[in-house]
């Protein structure tokens, strides 16, 4: 039995990737949950908003790289992020003006909004593919690892290595900063408070003189920041491929619903619940168990509960369980 090595192996394959993936999902779910809280519909276009935002960042990064602009050991994409966010804000505000506002004024049913957002999804997806193509795109540069497996082994003398990629560290730090700023904004500023009031009770908020169009505009701006950041971080950490963002929609929605739709704290918790369930269930536990079990009792198989091809199934099953037993989510979200 070798707990130290077991723990390091666990950290390397489960904890670190899980935390990074969880932060990405949490950022995505925050965007979905905000749109839900303020505009009161499930925004199917969120995944492709992330894709479009990430695509702008990719293109700007390439531009910076071409003129020799680098960010020391960090990925150049960080430098491109603010510009990409500005583009995405423009895109979302434009979409709201052209598409969603009409239905808002008509007070259309939420399900109409959902269908409309599906239409928007495909237009966004089309634009992304039209501009950048549908293949894998690499825009990562700078130092690859904060600590590589080999250095770690040399430092500690352990058999197992622990590698932390720069992108993973960056994801977590960025996510913490973004979430901190978001909560400060929602809880301390006048605009944030008006957003929460509007989300809680629309009529009451209107009576107290809150301008709904302003609330909606601020929401879209925040959503653009969240979606672009999440999209860029995911693209840096995994790889940028337009269609993966549509598939991310399911885990993102599952995170938002597990936490309670419309509840920002829930979205973050939900993101980590989904990410860790996905990683632990699709991870082959052979190595960790090999260290943990007494000699001679090591498992023969991979001890992988589900193959990684079924990672969607994990978020889906969690979603079903939550819908069956606690439809409002772990933290109380809006139900009806």
């Amino acid at each position: 039995m070798d707990f130290l090595n077991a723990f390091v192996a666990l950290a390397n394959y489960v904890l670190v990737p899980g935390i990074a993936y969880g932060s990405q999902l949490a950022l995505g779910a925050l965007g979905v949950t905000l749109v839900y809280g303020i505009l009161r519909f499930s925004n199917f276009a969120h995944g492709d908003t992330m894709a479009l935002g990430a695509m702008s960042a990719v293109l700007i990064t390439w531009g910076f790289q071409a003129i020799g602009l680098h960010l020391w050991v960090l990925p150049t994409a960080l430098l491109a992020l603010p510009f990409a966010i500005l583009l995405t804000i423009g895109l979302l505000l434009g979409t709201d003006r052209v598409v969603y506002r009409f239905y808002r004024e008509k007070k259309a049913k939420p399900v109409i909004f959902v269908i409309v957002s599906l239409g928007v999804t495909f237009i966004y997806n089309g634009i992304t593919r039209f501009i950048i193509g549908s293949d894998d795109k690499n825009f990562l540069d700078g130092e690859r690892f904060i600590i590589s497996a080999r250095t770690f082994k040399k430092m500690t003398g352990l058999e197992e290595g622990l590698a932390i990629k720069t992108t993973q560290g960056l994801t977590v730090i960025t996510a913490i900063i973004v979430v901190a700023v978001l909560f400060w904004f929602l809880n301390k500023t006048r605009s944030g408070k008006s957003m929460r009031a509007y989300s809680d009770n629309e009529d009451l908020a209107l009576l107290s003189g809150i301008n709904p169009e302003r609330v909606v505009m601020i929401t879209w701006i925040i959503v653009a920041c969240l979606a672009t950041t999440a999209g860029v971080l995911y693209g840096l950490d995994k790889s940028f491929k337009p269609f993966t963002y549509f598939q991310l929609l399911l885990p993102i929605f599952a995170s938002a619903i597990v936490g309670g739709l419309g509840n920002p704290v829930g979205a973050i918790a939900g993101g980590f619940v989904i990410a860790f369930s996905e990683v632990t269930i699709t991870y082959a536990w052979k190595k960790v168990l090999g260290y943990m079990m007494p000699a001679g009792m090591e498992p023969d198989g991979l001890v992988q509960l589900l193959s990684t091809d079924y990672k969607f199934a994990v978020s889906f099953v969690i979603l079903l369980i939550v819908l069956l037993f606690k439809p409002t989510g772990l933290f109380k979200g809006q139900s009806v």
Binding site: L118, I123, G126, F130, L250, F253, F312, L323
Partner: protein, 434 residues
């Protein structure tokens, strides 16, 4: 212009478009558009039942269609020799074990009093059952997949006439719809959308990865047909003579005849389903559904069981999509799990229903044909457009290459734009609900 005349004119326009394709391109292309148009119309009928009648938003049409395709394989293909004895029964036993585990867990949930004891017992049953399932399942799967992996490596089917697969495909889809409907209906409307989105992804993942069931991405090819093969017709002197009588050479005559037979079969199914849908629309049941759709609270106050009716209509609509899926796989004679894209199988059908006129069965059929025609034509049109735009540019200029290469992605944008424009400016569609 009165209504009947207007609707007839709309259908006549589509007929004219298809006939034009026949003259301009080839009759084979035209007949193919008709047969896929028929299948699309059936899918649109199913979605119209859910959305037009009951206001349910199903984003998982792709999954139900794929389940129908699976039925075509499981019914139509011959059983793989040796696969059942190698591990088929083991897989079946494992699946029964899995089902037993779920039933046991549900029973424990029902019988025991609430508390930590119940949670522990349920978890033990589920986890124990899962490992038991894997212990039986994995070796059997490995054994089945080892049977001649280059050609089979899966269980095969029952070897029955493939037409039987059509209703069976409907049953498969109905089963999946029941599970989804039972959990997600009765909650807020978006939940159904998200749950169906999920089930579709999972069904496709299962088809892609469970090689013992569907050969995964290796595809099942050569599913037996309900109609004769072209080569047999060409070797049949009687047929060749008849074809010559109509002025066709044997090859063209046989391909057209086979497509025509398919069209007759598909049209029969479409007419049957259309007749049933019309009857349902005008029955007390249809009126009740519309009443629920327009005002759930009022309908509930009148004593209607909203959730039960929604479940019913959701299952029926999904079953129709399953039937259409089985028919499509029959037409293709192959199941290619990699080709199921949400754009093609979920979104396109939605556009059909909304463009045609949600709530109107004839609208769904019209939309099915019209959008399928556009779907086939958008790509060449996009390419033509890009060629026009880049006409003045030099060959080899990066923008020209890029634009021409990207023409293939025009479909996404066109379909999205069509949906948004119709929803905004003509939300009732071409043939509005009465």
């Amino acid at each position: 212009m009165n209504e009947t005349l207007r609707n007839t004119a709309l259908f006549a326009i589509i007929a004219a478009l298809i006939v034009y394709t026949g003259f301009a391109q080839s009759w084979n292309a035209a007949l193919l558009i008709i047969s896929m148009g028929l299948i699309s119309s059936i899918m649109a009928l199913g979605v119209n039942l859910q959305w037009g009648f009951a206001g349910l938003f199903n984003v998982g049409i792709m999954g139900f269609v794929a389940l129908g395709g699976l039925a075509a394989v499981l019914i139509g293909m011959p059983a793989t020799e040796g696969a059942w004895s190698a591990g088929g029964w083991g897989i079946l036993g494992a699946l029964l074990l899995g089902a037993g585990t779920v039933i046991a867990a549900v029973q424990v949930m029902k019988r025991m009093a609430k508390g930590w004891r119940r949670t522990v017992v349920v978890l033990v049953v589920l986890i124990g059952g899962f490992f038991l399932f894997r212990a039986v399942f994995d070796p059997s799967v490995a054994a089945v997949e080892a049977v001649n992996p280059a050609h089979t490596g899966y269980l095969g089917g029952l070897g029955l006439p493939v037409i039987i697969a059509w209703p069976v495909g409907g049953l498969f889809a109905a089963g999946a719809a029941w599970v989804i409907g039972k959990t997600a209906l009765g909650l807020r409307s978006d939940y159904l959308a998200i749950a169906t989105l999920g089930i579709a992804e999972i069904i496709i993942a299962v088809l892609k990865n469970e090689d013992w069931l569907s050969r995964g991405v290796k595809n099942v090819i050569g599913i037996p047909r309900p109609v004769p093969y072209e080569i047999d017709l060409q070797n049949n002197p009687g047929f060749v003579e008849r074809a010559a009588g109509f002025g066709f050479d044997p090859v063209e005559g046989s391909t057209l005849w086979v497509k025509f037979l398919y069209i007759v079969l598909f049209a029969a199914v479409l007419l049957l389903l259309l007749w049933m849908s019309q009857r349902a629309l005008n029955s007390p049941w249809g009126r009740m559904l519309r009443a629920i759709r327009d005002n759930e609270v009022a309908a509930e106050a009148m004593g209607k069981d909203v959730t039960a009716r929604h479940l019913q209509v959701f299952i029926l609509g999904s079953a129709i999509c399953g039937i259409a899926g089985a028919m499509m796989t029959t037409l293709d004679s192959q199941l290619t799990p990699g080709s199921y894209q949400p754009l093609r199988f979920t979104f396109l059908i939605w556009v059909m229903v909304i463009v045609g006129g949600s709530g109107n069965n004839f609208g769904a059929v019209l939309g099915g044909f019209l959008m399928w025609y556009l779907w086939v034509m958008v790509e060449p049109m996009g390419l033509w457009l890009m060629n026009m735009i880049t006409y003045g540019m030099n060959d080899g200029y990066w923008l020209k290459d890029h634009l021409i290469e990207s023409a293939a992605h025009m479909r996404l944008m066109t379909m999205g734009a069509v949906l948004l424009l119709v929803l905004r400016f003509s939300p009732r569609g071409l043939i509005p609900e009465k």
